[in-house]
């Protein structure tokens, strides 16, 4: 039914003598929510950084919509339609909420430096267009009333939403979320779950996320992969993962303990 949009083929990342990720292969199909779980230090974020171009894999290939993106600069990968958030929410703390979102439009900016300096009609036209689009985006994530707030003034949960909105502004087809529920209480986590589902439909997205919170992943993701010591030890539907003996041994333990 749907096309494979991200394909990782035997990705390996070594830092000096340390192998952080070994032979990591996955395929993500359009419109799915894919989860990657594993303890701290298992190599989840490293895998993420390879896909987004922050790290170049020592070995292996990454294909995005069939195009080889291995080793491309991160900002180029963004313009191809891939956006990410960070584990510890990295907003531009001195920009307003709207300003944060507007940075997401930068890679498709339609005026140049001369327009900005001379304040040409083109500058005003596109600057206004961007602001309207930014407001519309904030509207759709119900943050429009906070548009003028400094990002650092918002509470934690809303900052996470702003970060996601900012990523959406880049116009992604694939959204990568690095531990979106970290630091949230169960209530907020639940809200976030609905939120992710909502934007996925609204913006026609494919979502790839890393998470710790088992309940969150199990409820949200259609497919889950488990990483342990840099190696993928399992992949499958939530119920398969829950009962997979390897996963239980290496990661979950007795989940009801």
């Amino acid at each position: 039914m749907s096309e494979v949009i991200l394909k990782c083929d035997k990705l390996t990342m070594r830092f000096g003598g340390l192998t952080a990720v070994r032979d990591f292969s996955i395929e993500i199909k359009e419109h799915m929510i894919f989860g990657l779980i594993g303890p701290n230090g298992a190599g989840k974020t490293t895998a993420f950084n390879m896909i987004t171009g922050n790290l170049t894999p020592t070995e292996g290939k990454i294909h995005f919509y069939g195009q080889d993106i291995t080793g491309l600069k991160p900002y180029k990968i963004v313009s191809l339609g891939m956006a990410r958030t960070f584990q510890n929410i990295r907003l531009f703390s001195n920009l307003s909420v709207l300003g944060n979102v507007l940075t997401g439009f930068h890679h498709k900016l339609k005026y140049n430096l001369i327009d900005a300096i001379l304040r040409t009609p083109r500058f005003y036209k596109y600057e206004n267009e961007m602001k309207e689009a930014g407001m519309a985006l904030l509207e759709s994530v119900r943050l429009a009333d906070k548009a003028d707030f400094k990002a650092s003034e918002l509470p934690y949960g809303e900052r996470r939403k702003v970060e996601i909105a900012r990523a959406l502004a880049t116009g992604p087809k694939l959204l990568l979320l690095d531990e979106p529920a970290a630091g949230m209480n169960p209530q907020e986590t639940l809200d976030l779950m609905y939120f992710i589902r909502e934007i996925k439909d609204k913006f026609n997205l494919t979502v790839f996320l890393i998470e710790h919170d088992m309940k969150f992943v199990m409820n949200l993701c259609e497919t889950i992969a488990v990483l342990d010591h840099g190696v993928k030890i399992a992949e499958g539907k939530p119920e398969e993962i829950r009962t997979n003996p390897d996963v239980i041994k290496a990661y979950l333990g007795d989940i009801n303990a």
């Binding site: 987004t52 922050n54 600069k73 991160p74 900002y75 963004v78 313009s79 956006a83 990410r84 960070f86 990295r90 907003l91 531009f92 703390s93 001195n94 920009l95 300003g99 507007l102 940075t103 997401g104 439009f105 930068h106 890679h107 900016l109 005026y111 430096l113 900005a116 300096i117 001379l118 304040r119 500058f123 005003y124 600057e127 961007m130 900012r166 990523a167 502004a169 880049t170």
Partner: protein, 345 residues
């Protein structure tokens, strides 16, 4: 440009400023005019410097190098071939430069463009490092420019320097260029490019993740700064009429650094205020070196005390008031009107 309240007010403010310049050039003492000339040139230099250091958050220490390049290029272009011939006593100047001669405005602009180009080339290696490393590498660049100007004798006349430059620079040249620099830089800051620069400052990795080509953004800031620092160098050269490798030392960079910190990193209007405070302040501090009588107590002048006091004031300021005058805030018409209406800024 759109005709709205803010733009009209800005134009009015600029007119008032030029009115002040006109009044000053006729009524102020030559010394005061002189210090205002310094102030305006320094405003241009520090506005550019703040763009790269404050707005884009790339802590660099290169301006003395850029100013030197601009000064040399402008000086070479405005000196007559005859002057150059009499000056280059060690080795003659390379012929294609020796015969080049032009008027001040094109010389300044070429000075700015050459500096901008050097900045552009320099940007590629230096922006591969961040933070303190960037500071030290750019500091090395300023030093390297001095060493190079000492050694490329057929271009710079080595340690003898270039002397007897025509004095074109006056308060009008300084004022017009300072206004141009402020307008250009503030417009860049208040555009998508400025937002991207601030994004790079706040979190470079996140900016990359937003699809921003951060090297490019840093280059825009760096090259713009270099252009204005080059032009400022040209203005300085014609103001002091003599340049040599020792003119543009690290102390110049340090003074600019103080200005942008006093004004508030990232705030252009703060920079403008701070330039006035620092340039005039350091002139006023001359007092501490004069012998003086306070309530009958005679204090002999202690040579060198000015710099001691200056450095102590700086340390005290960094400890107690390090946000500077404006912080990261910017003076703006909206801010004033909101203030009047009592709205949230």
């Amino acid at each position: 440009m759109k005709i709205d309240r803010n733009n009209i007010l800005t134009i009015l403010a600029i007119l008032v400023f030029f009115l002040f310049v006109w009044w000053g050039s006729n009524h102020l003492t030559a010394y005061a005019v002189r210090v205002w000339e310094d102030t305006l040139i320094f405003l241009m230099l520090s506005a550019g410097y703040n763009l790269i250091n404050g707005v884009t958050g790339q802590f660099s220490l290169e301006p003395n190098g850029f100013v030197a390049i601009g000064a040399y290029v402008t000086a070479i272009l405005i000196l007559t071939p005859a002057q150059k011939e009499s000056m280059f006593i060690i080795e003659p100047m390379v012929p294609w430069l020796a015969n080049l001669h032009m008027s001040f405005l094109p010389a300044l602009i070429i000075g700015g463009i050459v500096t901008a180009f050097v900045g552009f080339l320099l940007g590629f290696p230096v922006f591969r490092v961040r933070g303190d490393y960037l500071a030290i590498v750019t500091l090395g660049f300023g030093l390297t420019i001095r060493v190079v100007s000492n050694n490329t004798i057929t271009i710079t006349n080595g340690s003898l320097g270039l002397k007897g430059l025509p004095t074109y620079t006056n308060i009008w040249w300084c004022a017009v260029w300072a206004v141009i620099a402020m307008i250009v830089i503030m417009r860049i800051v208040d555009s998508a490019f400025g937002r991207a620069m601030k994004a790079v400052r706040d979190d470079e990795d996140a900016a990359i993740a937003m699809g921003i080509n951060t090297l490019w953004i840093k280059q825009i800031a760096f090259v713009t700064a270099a252009f204005f620092e080059g032009v400022g160098g040209g203005l300085l050269a014609s103001l002091i009429t003599i340049i040599s490798p020792t003119v543009f030392t690290f102390f110049l960079t340090f003074e600019l650094l103080i200005i942008i910190v006093v004004g508030g990193l990232g705030s252009m209007t703060g920079t403008a205020l701070a330039t006035v405070v620092v340039v005039w302040g350091s002139e006023l501090l001359r007092v501490v070196e004069q012998p003086m009588n306070i309530f009958g107590l005679h204090i002999p002048g202690i040579p060198g005390m000015r710099m001691v006091v200056f450095s102590i004031l700086l340390i005290i300021m960094m400890i107690f008031a390090r946000e500077g005058i404006m912080g990261q805030k910017e003076f703006s018409w909206d801010w004033i009107f909101n203030k009047i209406k009592g709205k949230r800024a």
